[in-house]
């Protein structure tokens, strides 16, 4: 069988029409979905802000936005300077673990090593109750 006869016999017109319709349906749906995506994401992010669920953000208040130099200073006293914002935030005395956690959170490089050197250099000194303080 050939020609229109074959097309009709094999249900060709339906297949072609239904086929292209489905392809369009799929891509139109996807196109619509992604055009809404940006808005949905913005909505979602604003929701967080509006309902005040941004506890994590608050937690970092005062230390966020610390700018660390590209090259960490070799000299421990210079390095200590970069730790000042953290000391301020932690108050007069604090456990080393808190300092460690905070410096991790703020992406300080090699926090454990630096903290060890701060102790060795007597910049951090124990206050007796397991906590430490900044040696002024």
């Amino acid at each position: 069988m050939y020609g229109l006869e074959a097309i009709n016999a094999q249900n060709g017109w339906s297949m072609a029409l239904v086929g292209i319709t489905i392809v369009f349906t799929g891509l139109v749906a996807l196109s619509f979905a992604i055009s809404q995506l940006k808005k949905l994401i913005e909505l979602w992010e604003n929701r967080d802000k509006l309902t005040g669920k941004n506890g994590m953000v608050n937690e970092n208040v005062g230390t966020e936005g610390i700018e660390l130099p590209d090259h960490w200073p070799e000299d421990i006293h210079e390095a200590a300077g970069l730790y000042e914002p953290l000391f301020k935030k932690l108050g007069d005395s604090f456990p080393l673990a808190d300092l460690y956690k905070l410096s991790e959170e703020n992406n300080y490089p090699h926090p454990h090593l630096t903290i060890k050197r701060l102790r060795d250099a007597q910049i951090l000194i124990p206050v007796g109750d397991g906590n430490f303080t900044r040696n002024q």
């Binding site: 297949m15 292209i20 489905i22 392809v23 996807l30 995506l37």
Partner: protein, 376 residues
């Protein structure tokens, strides 16, 4: 001793060859020549071309040597074609290379990727009219999607005896995009249209990039589950890329994995064109229909873009419609070059890539649709 010698000679390719092998070997050399000298899609044409040469060295059947003989090395390598494994793996790699951000920035362009698939369905009618059986006609039609792996995948499922000619037609025309598309592009557009500039795409956030492959998998594959082996892998690969945390996996997917699949897919598809199964009227018909399919696909994309321009304010450069076929990145490049030919300061590439990648999605859906039609 002379027996042994005569026997050996009568098994040599020199003895067994006839004009058909010579034709095919010349075809293989042309493929390889176009790839090397003209730089037409060398990643596709070199493996295929060399495969055609190797596959058309005639040999005595029964040794377990040929691609169609059980237990031969080439038979096992061809397994990935026959089952559709290589196309799926290529889509995984493709996903891990594709940047969908320009598509996300202008989702409207996705419609052009749908429009270009009309070539597929017109060709379906043509193939039926030429007397092909429905499953054969569907496999031939998919050539209009301009997507090699998709064509091979669908043909492997519906009409495995046609893998050779359909794959060769699909890849030939993909390589010939710089020859086929420009005249059609010029025919259907005015100079003024070709000069239309597209605004720079907006920045796309990481969250959009992350959510896209999941949403796209769900929307497309819920609609056409038969597209899963292609689109599931494509979007999985893309998610590996955008997620950031598994860069080493994405890196392997876009190098070793896709390269290995590309080498073996191309080479064995080339080999599958053994003269005795390839050179016949049917293959000729397929090549003819393939050219028709490509041309209609190109034209459909362009015309659809012009129709869209009737309804929207921010006009689309209708050349972009031509990149709705999924020959990545060949047709996008062609659109870009024609745009620059008219105005060297007009950059269409990013926009064309958006159409191109929606063309990939569109033709995979079309393949799924055709597959499920044939299974009804």
């Amino acid at each position: 001793m002379s027996d042994l010698f005569v026997n050996f000679l009568s098994n040599t390719g020199y003895f067994l060859a006839d004009y058909r092998h010579v034709i095919m070997i010349v075809v293989g050399c042309i493929f390889v020549y176009l790839a090397v000298a003209k730089k037409y899609e060398p990643l596709l044409l070199i493996p295929i071309g060399f495969g055609i040469i190797v596959g058309n060295i005639p040999f005595f059947k029964g040794f377990g040597l040929g691609i169609y003989e059980n237990n031969s090395v080439f038979h096992y390598l061809y397994f990935g074609v026959k089952t559709g494994l290589y196309p799926s793996i290529v889509f995984l790699g493709l996903g891990s290379m594709t940047d969908f951000s320009s598509l996300l920035a202008r989702p409207k362009l996705m419609l052009l990727g749908a429009a270009a698939q009309m070539g597929i369905f017109f060709t379906l009618l043509g193939a039926l009219a030429l007397g092909f059986l429905p499953k054969e006609a569907a496999s031939i039609a998919i050539i209009g999607g301009a997507d090699g792996p998709t064509s091979i995948f669908l043909t492997a499922k519906l009409a495995p005896h046609l893998i050779g000619p359909i794959a060769i037609a699909a890849y030939s025309y993909m390589a010939l995009i710089p020859v086929i598309q420009p005249p059609i592009m010029r025919l259907f557009t005015t100079r003024k249209e070709r000069l239309i500039r597209m605004p720079d795409p907006r920045e796309v956030s990481k969250k959009e990039l992350l959510i896209f492959p999941i949403v796209a998998t769900l929307l497309c594959c819920l609609l056409a589950p038969t597209a899963l082996p292609l689109l599931g892998m494509l979007f999985f690969g893309n998610f590996l890329k955008v997620s950031g945390g598994v860069e080493r996996l994405a890196q392997t997917a876009r190098t070793s994995i896709i390269d290995t699949a590309t080498i073996l897919l191309g080479f064995t598809v080339g080999m599958s064109t053994q003269a005795d199964v390839f050179l016949n009227g049917r293959s000729l018909g397929i090549f003819f229909l393939g050219a028709v399919a490509f041309s209609i696909a190109t034209a459909s994309g362009i015309i659809f873009a012009k129709i869209m321009n009737l309804f929207i304010k921010e006009k689309i450069n209708p050349l972009l419609g031509a990149s709705g076929v999924s020959a990545v990145p060949g047709s996008a490049r062609e659109v870009h070059l024609m745009g620059q030919h008219e105005d060297p300061t007009n950059f269409l590439l990013m926009h064309a890539m958006a159409c191109n990648s929606s063309g990939v999605i569109g033709s995979a859906i079309a393949a799924g649709v055709l597959w499920s039609f044939m299974m009804v």
